[in-house]
Every structure is written in structure tokens, then in C-alpha cells.
Subunit: 207 residues, 2 copies
DNA sequence: TAGATTGTTAATCGATTAACAATC
DNA sequence: TAGATTGTTAATCGATTAACAATC
């Protein structure tokens, strides 16, 4: 497989392809085409073919793509052919909801740990998990070999949490706090901030 | 103000500028520069100047940008100089967390309504809100003149909810269900799917 | 075979960056 | 004034699309 430099914007589309394909598989479908996939996602067929062909020829001329084969290929490319353990930091509303959420399981992730610094919360149950003390976080995460974490703490604490996570060996952070994080090279951060998405839409709305 | 066609990618950066500026204001800062803003966000100074200048000359040569002035301008551009009422559909983990979240208030949004179809949940309290019956949703939303909604229901129900919302006059949907929605032109959808963000990072991780 | 759809190239389109005159 | 930083232009860079030969 010719591993060139894949543009980040292409990498960002692969999970979308995967999600649609998994949905099709769930619907009992066997085969799809770049055109059909494109219609579902609002992406041009040419773009989907070009993106996929960067990683190899996964389709058949005249036929299209075998859905379960393509799912397997994408899972391998995205490094989710085996599940990742995930830690959640913050057992407030968002952190608890995310820790209880069952939608990660078939997408390559398993929440294993949840931490909070509030003594009232430490020891309580969130879904299947027991909230552990933030003071022990670094040690526990390092010991468990967890490399992915979600931050769901107040903005004021988010950078400190990120620093601790990085020291503990975390390489990927999904940040629910509405603030930009500084991390060293080799550590990846993604952001979820609903207000940003809403503001992106209100631009187009009139009153 | 010369209103050209602004590329969507530019519109998508404006909320990020606004968020950083609001944070700077909170820190007591008065003035900033395209360079400083760029460093905080990982965006080039030239790009920030170019983006902002699409809407007018907001800065002063030699000085930079007045933070609170630029905040006001951006809020006007993004249509959040007045708050928007928001409805939440689904009072499960995510829906409840979002409805209780206080972080929307100073970003231009107020959650006013929350709905669920589960009779066990209807009538219960979620933060300051009473869960209302999904069966009355369309009527209540239309009556209240709410134009923005968040969908936090199982994937299987999300499209039906979206259809009902559109009929009730909703123009902007933030969808937490991991599925693509079909909506008519003039209705905007944004997606929040943590798995997609995580997969985007695992591509770069090795085991 | 005939029809369909891929993989890939070349052309187009759009976004980012570099550079600098204007000016506070 | 001298130093700093904007707004804007032109050049570069990269991404998307159109088109079609290859082929299932």
C-alpha cells in the first residue's frame, strides 16, 4: 500500500465514509458506489473515489465497493481495527453523559476510566464506572497505558488537565471545554464546542 | 459594509476568533493583533487579517484590534447581537447535559425547551426546564417561534425528528445523533459526533 | 457483450501565504 | 518621527472536479 502524505482534510473525511458504510451494512446492504455514498454525505463521487484510491484500489469497475470489505479497510487505515481505551476527565454533566454513552463501542473506543477532583463525586458510580480521584489520574492512566482522553472540565482547568494527561502519556485529546489547548508536537487535539457550531449557522439566519 | 459572498470556510473561523477574543476580554485585555490571535488559534496572521477585512476595516495600523469593538462586530456579523432561543429534543444523557449546560448563555443562545417521548420523563425537571411531551413538540416550537434545535435522540429517530422540526419552522439543527440528516434548502445542519473526532486522531497514532 | 463504475489524469477552481504600501 | 501593524494585492499552493480509458 503506497503510503504518501495524506492531506488532513482527506483523513477527516474517512471517518464519515466509515460511518455511512456501517449504517449501510446495518441496513443489510452488500455493495455501494461512490455516487451513492456521495449523495448520502453531500460529497462528490469523484472526491470519494480520489480519497479512497490514495490508499489502494478498493473498488471494482462496473460494480462499486464491497461494503464490509471497505469497512475493514477503513478501520485498518484509521487504526481502529482494535479498540482503544479512553479516559474521561470531569464527571459533570457532559463527562457523565459521555462516560455513560454506548455509541463508542462499535466505533473503536471503550471508556474505561473517569476522574473528578470533587470529593463528593469520587467513589460514585457513573454508568458502569466508578469515579476516581483526579489526584491519582496521572498514575492510573500511565499504569493502564491509556493514550486517549476526553476533557470535560471547566475552561479554567482544561489546560492543566491537558498538561497532566500529556505527561501521563496521552497522545490524543478530545476537548469539550471551550478553550484552545497548547500541547507538544505528537499530541493531537480535537474540539467539541456546540456554540461554535450554532454560531456557524446563525450567520446564515435572519430574524 | 460590502457584503460579498463569504466562503463558508471563512464563516467557520469567525466563531473561533470570537471565542478567543471573549477569552482575552475576560483576561482584562484591551487590544490584540492578528499575530497574537493567530498564535492562540494556530492560524496565520495573514489569514485572520484577510478574513476580518472581508467585513470591513476593524483594525488600526500600528496598533491592532480593539478587543471589545471586534467582539461587537463579530457578534453582529454572526447574528448573535441578540440571543436565540433553542429547543433540545431528547432528554437522555446528552440532551439533559446540554439542557443543563450554562456555557451557551454568553455565546448567544438560551435553551428554552426540552422534549422527550418517554412518558417516564415527560413532566420531570432537567435543570431549570420541565421536559415536555414530544407529541406536542411541533405545536409548542411553532408557537414559541423557536428557530434553532438540538437533536439528541437515538439515530433511528433522528430523521423523523428533523422532519418535524423543519415543519415547525426550525432553520438550524445541531445534530448529536451519529447519522446524516436530509433537510430542505434554507435549513442548516451541523453535526457533533465524538467518534468521528477520535477516529480522525487515531489515524495518526500507532500502537 | 453491453452497461456500469472505478482509478487516474489534467484542468479548474479556490484558499492560503508572502509581501508591502498605507498609516496609526 | 520611528516602529508597528493593518488591509490588500499578487503569487503560490492545494483541493476539487471533469472527463475518460480501463475493466469488471
Amino acid at each position: 500500500m503506497p503510503v504518501k502524505h495524506i492531506p488532513d482534510i482527506v483523513v477527516g473525511r474517512l471517518p464519515q465514509y466509515l460511518r455511512s458504510l456501517q449504517r449501510m451494512a446495518l441496513e443489510g446492504r452488500q455493495v455501494t458506489s461512490s455516487q451513492e455514498l456521495g449523495e448520502r454525505l453531500g460529497i462528490s463521487a469523484a472526491q470519494i473515489r480520489k480519497d479512497l484510491s490514495q490508499f489502494g484500489g478498493f473498488g471494482k469497475q462496473g460494480t462499486g465497493y464491497d461494503i464490509s470489505f471497505l469497512i475493514r479497510q477503513l478501520r485498518t487505515i484509521l487504526n481502529i481495527d482494535h479498540d482503544w481505551d479512553v479516559a474521561v476527565v470531569g464527571a459533570g454533566g457532559i463527562g457523565s453523559a459521555v462516560a455513560r454513552y454506548h455509541g463508542f463501542t462499535d466505533r473503536g473506543f471503550n471508556v474505561r476510566l473517569i476522574f473528578d477532583s470533587d470529593p463528593e463525586k469520587v467513589g460514585t458510580q457513573v454508568g458502569e464506572h466508578t469515579v476516581q480521584d483526579y489526584a491519582q489520574m496521572a498514575e492510573i492512566i500511565e499504569q493502564a497505558g491509556v493514550h486517549i482522553a476526553m476533557i470535560a472540565v471547566p475552561s479554567a482547568d482544561a489546560q492543566d488537565v491537558a498538561d497532566k494527561l500529556v505527561k501521563a502519556g496521552v497522545k490524543a485529546i478530545l476537548n469539550y471545554a471551550p478553550i484552545s489547548l497548547n500541547v507538544p508536537p505528537g499530541v493531537y487535539v480535537q474540539y467539541i464546542d456546540p456554540s461554535i457550531h450554532l454560531q456557524r449557522m446563525t450567520y446564515y439566519l435572519s430574524r
